[in-house]
């Protein structure tokens, strides 16, 4: 099985360079790594990561904006440049706008954000994958983790009801935040995912990348 790790942050937003993250991800058994930084052009020594053999390293962009209007303009500006676009759910307005935009590949739900029914319906129509960040699983303890698990189960229930695409990440900011694919599957299972569902969610980034790398000349026409 080929698993991709996505949503990792490299220097200067994280504490490890892209090549170090790639080495660590390769050792853990990943086939690919998608680094998603808010400012991808500022990533430290981007080219060095391409020299790591045995792992594909891609650079996506995380769109972090204050309102829906800015989100749409950033998305259309970044779509052609990056094969993976991630939006972090910082407010309800952003969640709704991201779910309505087909340019968004994944909407990352943070610990306290809840998906609404309208947003879920829009995400289904726009084929936006709902990203679940599992890093609170090891960052938090006690009641904050219980609250996070409760919110995750609620969002997961809604995503299942509307048959949304699911995607899992550990949102690594350093090599010590990275977890292997089987560990992520185990954490997801404990958090409430079905094993097959979690496995599919881990394989989705590769499919998204493949689709986005195709050169679409128009609706239904691909340049081979």
């Amino acid at each position: 099985m080929s698993f991709y790790l996505w949503g990792a942050k490299a220097l200067p937003e994280g504490s490890d360079s892209a090549s170090r993250l790639a080495l660590a991800a390769r050792d853990l058994g990943y086939k690919g790594l998608i680094i998603c930084s808010c400012e991808p052009l500022r990533v430290f020594r981007m080219q060095a990561s391409r020299q790591i053999k045995g792992i594909e390293v891609e650079y996506g962009a995380e769109v972090d904006v204050a309102n829906a209007r800015a989100l749409h303009s950033r998305l259309s500006a970044s779509r052609a440049a990056y094969p993976f676009l991630l939006v972090e759910a910082s407010s309800e307005e952003i969640i709704n706008a991201a779910c309505e935009s087909p340019n968004v590949d994944a909407l990352l739900l943070s610990a306290d954000r809840r998906l609404s029914i309208a947003a879920a319906r829009a995400a289904r129509q726009s084929q936006v994958a709902i990203g679940f960040d599992l890093s609170p699983f090891f960052r938090l303890r006690g009641s904050p983790r219980a609250r996070w698990l409760e919110a995750l189960r609620r969002n997961l229930g809604l995503a299942r009801k509307f048959d949304l695409l699911l995607i899992l990440t550990c949102r690594a900011r350093s090599r010590l935040d990275l977890r292997g694919p089987r560990e992520i599957l185990a954490m997801a299972e404990v958090a409430g995912f079905e094993p097959a569902e979690a496995e599919e969610a881990m394989q989705l980034p590769e499919r998204i990348l493949k689709e986005n790398k195709r050169r679409w000349l128009g609706p239904g026409v691909v340049l081979i």
């Binding site: 080495l23 050792d27 430290f44 303890r141 900011r173 350093s174 560990e183």
Partner: protein, 179 residues
């Protein structure tokens, strides 16, 4: 009274893990943290059903014993370890085996002690500068001059590779690996 037959014992699995930490940690701190994480995640009842025992730990490799029907829970427990004795760390599972012998043979390398070497050299680049703390193969841990560099990631050192340093500075008189 006749003792329990070996076939009636609960089946066990031996989980080999690799420890990735910023500093060296003691075995007793590792198992203390694992038990604490397990109790926090599954409660006392869950911990009683899957009694974890540290069989071996040396350098950056260790072996843990668990019940064979609680393997996923053991994986989740090890993945939940965030820091050991106040030192930022992560436990990565290398593999699982049915006997101690096969676990050792398959997953623990002969030279399991980390080949890390302390280094007094510095890295001076436009983007980052600091003292090299450790070099292990191509991996370099750097203590940055600006402590704000690691803000948000909860680590003390920056992680670089020798690939990042190749062609880094015009005046560098380093080797071909960039150092």
């Amino acid at each position: 009274m006749r003792s329990k037959l070996p076939v009636l014992f609960p089946k066990r699995r031996y989980v080999v893990f690799r420890l990735d930490s910023e500093e060296e940690v003691a075995s007793k701190d590792i198992i203390k943290e694992i038990h604490s994480v397990q109790a926090s995640l599954f409660g006392d009842i869950g911990a009683a059903r899957n009694r974890l025992k540290l069989i071996y730990h040396e350098g950056c490799f260790g072996m843990l014993r668990c019940r064979h029907d609680h393997l996923q829970q053991t994986r989740a427990t090890l993945a939940s370890v965030y820091a050991i004795g106040g030192v930022r760390a992560a436990l990565h599972i290398k593999g699982v085996a049915g006997t101690i012998k096969s676990a050792r043979e398959k997953y623990i390398p002969q030279l399991s002690r980390s080949g890390a070497e302390d280094d007094g050299r510095r890295i001076e680049l436009e983007e980052v500068s600091g003292c090299i703390v450790r070099i292990h193969g191509r991996k370099i841990d750097l203590c940055p001059d600006d402590p704000n560099r690691t803000r948000g990631s909860d680590t003390r050192y920056l992680g670089l590779t020798s690939f990042d340093l190749i062609g880094g500075h015009d005046d560098a008189d380093g080797t071909s690996d960039g150092l």
